[in-house]
């Protein structure tokens, strides 16, 4: 169990990236969603020992992550949102090197885990190629492989599926969820579907604050039957709806506007009930907490 209490961080430029976030994260996949600039990366960097928070604590099964950086790094697997590679190193050399850094000094075990990861991430055939020549997807898979070295107890992956094609994304998410049953995995993403498919728990962060935390299916259950949809042809009609009802989202469908609104009571006036999904939860929570 990872317990986070009142984590806050203000950057030297005055940006308040986190404003006191408290969370309990059990083992399993934990999805973190939120718009750009919500504070997701700051949150994850603090847990990955790269940033010191101004206030707050984070403890993993009794280990204080903030003060025991070295201990934390031993059980951490981290994939940053953006990273590069040493262009002249091959994947296998680099993974071997990183395995030594993570204390896997028995050479037989090191060989096994490195080769296993290269197989799992489908980099086996290109393992001796210089990393500088990797495509975006291959590089991302290398990043995944290095994060999973040394059986980490805490896995932090920041937008891991960015730049992967749908097949690669599936493969990665399967790998992660099969590893993530017994350890804490925090996954941040823009893609709400990633969270719905994989995560046993989730949180939505906006403007540095936690605005929802819970089980995805329960969150969907909570808005079930309260999401209504209407298709309107013109922007003027759309704006009228926006003023009258708490709007969740607007999509363009075949050149028309499909507007989704939240209402606890049934709506007439051309509105039809629709099956709620996690995206509706996400947009509703964001619009409810939009700072005015």
């Amino acid at each position: 169990m990872l317990s986070i209490r009142n984590l806050a961080k203000t950057y030297s430029g005055g940006v308040r990236a986190l404003r006191g976030v408290s969370l309990d994260i059990p083992p399993g996949m934990f999805g973190l969603i939120g718009p750009n600039g919500a504070g997701k990366s700051t949150f994850m960097k603090i847990l990955a020992t790269l940033l010191d928070p101004d206030t707050g604590t984070a403890t993993l099964d009794g280990l204080d992550l903030i003060t025991n950086k070295d201990e934390t790094r031993r059980l951490l697997g981290y994939l940053p949102q953006e990273f590069g590679v040493y262009p002249k190193m091959s994947a296998i050399d680099m993974l071997n090197h990183l395995a030594v850094m993570k204390g896997i000094t028995k050479s037989g075990e090191r060989k096994e885990i490195v080769e296993g990861l290269l197989q799992q991430t489908n980099l086996w055939d290109v393992r001796k190629k210089a990393l500088g020549g990797y495509s975006g997807g291959m590089k991302q898979r290398f990043g995944i492989a290095q994060a999973l070295l040394a059986n980490p107890k805490l896995i932090i992956v920041d937008e891991p599926t960015a730049g992967l094609d749908p097949a690669e994304r599936n493969r990665f998410l399967n790998l992660l969820s099969s590893i993530g049953r017994n350890v804490v995995v925090i996954l941040s993403t823009h893609i709400v579907a990633d969270v719905r498919e994989l995560c046993s728990r989730m949180a939505i962060i906006s403007s540095g604050e936690l605005i929802l935390e819970g089980v995805p299916t329960q969150a969907i259950e909570a808005v079930k039957g309260r999401v209504w949809s209407k298709v309107v042809p013109t922007d003027g009609e759309r704006e009228a709806i926006e003023k009258a009802y708490p709007m969740i989202s607007m999509h363009r469908v075949g050149g028309l506007n499909e507007v989704r609104v939240y209402s606890e009571t049934p709506l007439s006036d051309g509105f039809l009930p629709v099956e709620a999904d996690l995206e509706d939860v996400y947009f509703r929570e964001l619009s409810r907490h939009r700072p005015n």
Partner: protein, 522 residues
Amino acid sequence: MFKDFFLFELKLRFKSVSTYIYFLLAALLPFFSIAARDFGPVGSGKVFLNSPYAFLLITTQVLAFGSILVAAIFGPPILRDFNGDTYQLIFTKPISKFGYLVGRWAGSMVTAIFVFSGIAVGTALGTLMPWADKLRIAPNDFGMYFRIYASIGIVQIFFLGSLFFCVAALTRNIVVVYLQGVALFAFYLIELVVVIASNKLERAWASIIDPFGLIMVQSLTRYWTVVERNALVPHWTGVFLYNRLVWLSVGALALLAAYALFPMSAEVLGSRRSTKKAEEARAGEEDEKKAPRRVAANLPSVTQIFDGATTWKQLFSMTRMRFFNIVREIPFWAITLIMLVFVLISGHFAGNNNGVEVWPVTFLMVLVVSGQSGLFLYIIGALYAGEVIWRERDVRFEQIHDSLPLRDWTDFVSKFLALAMVETVLASVVLVCGVLSQAMTGFFRFELGHYAKEIYLIYLPQLLMVVLLALFLQTVLGNKFVAHAVVVGFFILIPILYAWGIEKRMYLYAEITPYTYSDMNG
């Protein structure tokens, strides 16, 4: 069309830091040859340090040893499109071949002319230094600088640049471009050996076919008196004219060949370009087609051990990685190759003591090889100190790196050890060059013990002191280029301190008491 490509090239070049670094490099040698009396090619005597003769020599030398810079300027404009894979975008647009090729060539030409104008700037700055020997400095004559720069510098830039440009355009492989530069040097060295071995005063042919003009300038000015050396600027007559014409036409032919043979089609370019990238692309494509091997993951479990032995293993692995990251870089090899050429040439003449031939005994040889290689090893030490300190940030690996369970001091020590390994290997190469040079002149009494003492106990520790200083400055100052500038400034500072009378070795970093070991006195 031409104007667009030309201006684009200029904009790109003058925005890039490397252009200004090349400029500084070109200015460095002339600056020191004036500011530090015995550094330059003129030597002691009554010839002015900035006389036409001195400027002629320094310009020829900078262009010869700086041909690596010419390659670095004329290689990328074509290769850029292939390394960045933008060629598919470019060659599907209706662009003219003339505009594309000549525009980029002309942009590089202007850049190179700017870069090597550093020779004149360095010379002029050198004359202004307060500690420079005023008695041997004539007023700066910029007209003379320009005439010599035009007939040596710009002609060399045109010839070398067009050749490099042609090779880059036709092979689209940077390694071949650098190899071609090495081949030119080899051609020159062979010519030099032949000229010296033949021991004739008639050097007209050798001068005419000398690609760098070094032999030509030397034989041309050979019998100039002090007054002539202080006044004459070579005219385009005789051997000078023929040499310039030969290499101007080689440059023009290379340019024509590039224009005639460069295929303006993405398909041909794609199929003919270096196979490495294509292979990687193919590997990627095959990789896409393959079905995932196993869906459910079963990663083997491992034991993590964090004890003293692991710390040593981490240090070893980190050092090894940093070492290979340095020696796999092209600039490292370029600097090393130039150093080797420098050391071997001067090692060849180690026994020539002011015109008197003596045996190249070990004390002379050590003096020459360590003296000639010193500047290069300092440059490598300082340059790569910046690289190792900033490597993680530069390749954007710092977030993963910083979250590794690795102690800070292990990381720092690995940086120093990697550089120390590089310098030790290079110092050993210098030692071997000394022995080789002795053997080539038929002198076989190698004093290996003496070599080892001088190189490993005196020369190497000095280099390592500089490496430590550069690492320290890079860490404290927090900006790679500022720290480089401060390191350079530090070397300029020492002669200033000398001039002020601060000569106590205790106060001067990495300076040792000058001494002369000789076979007579020990």
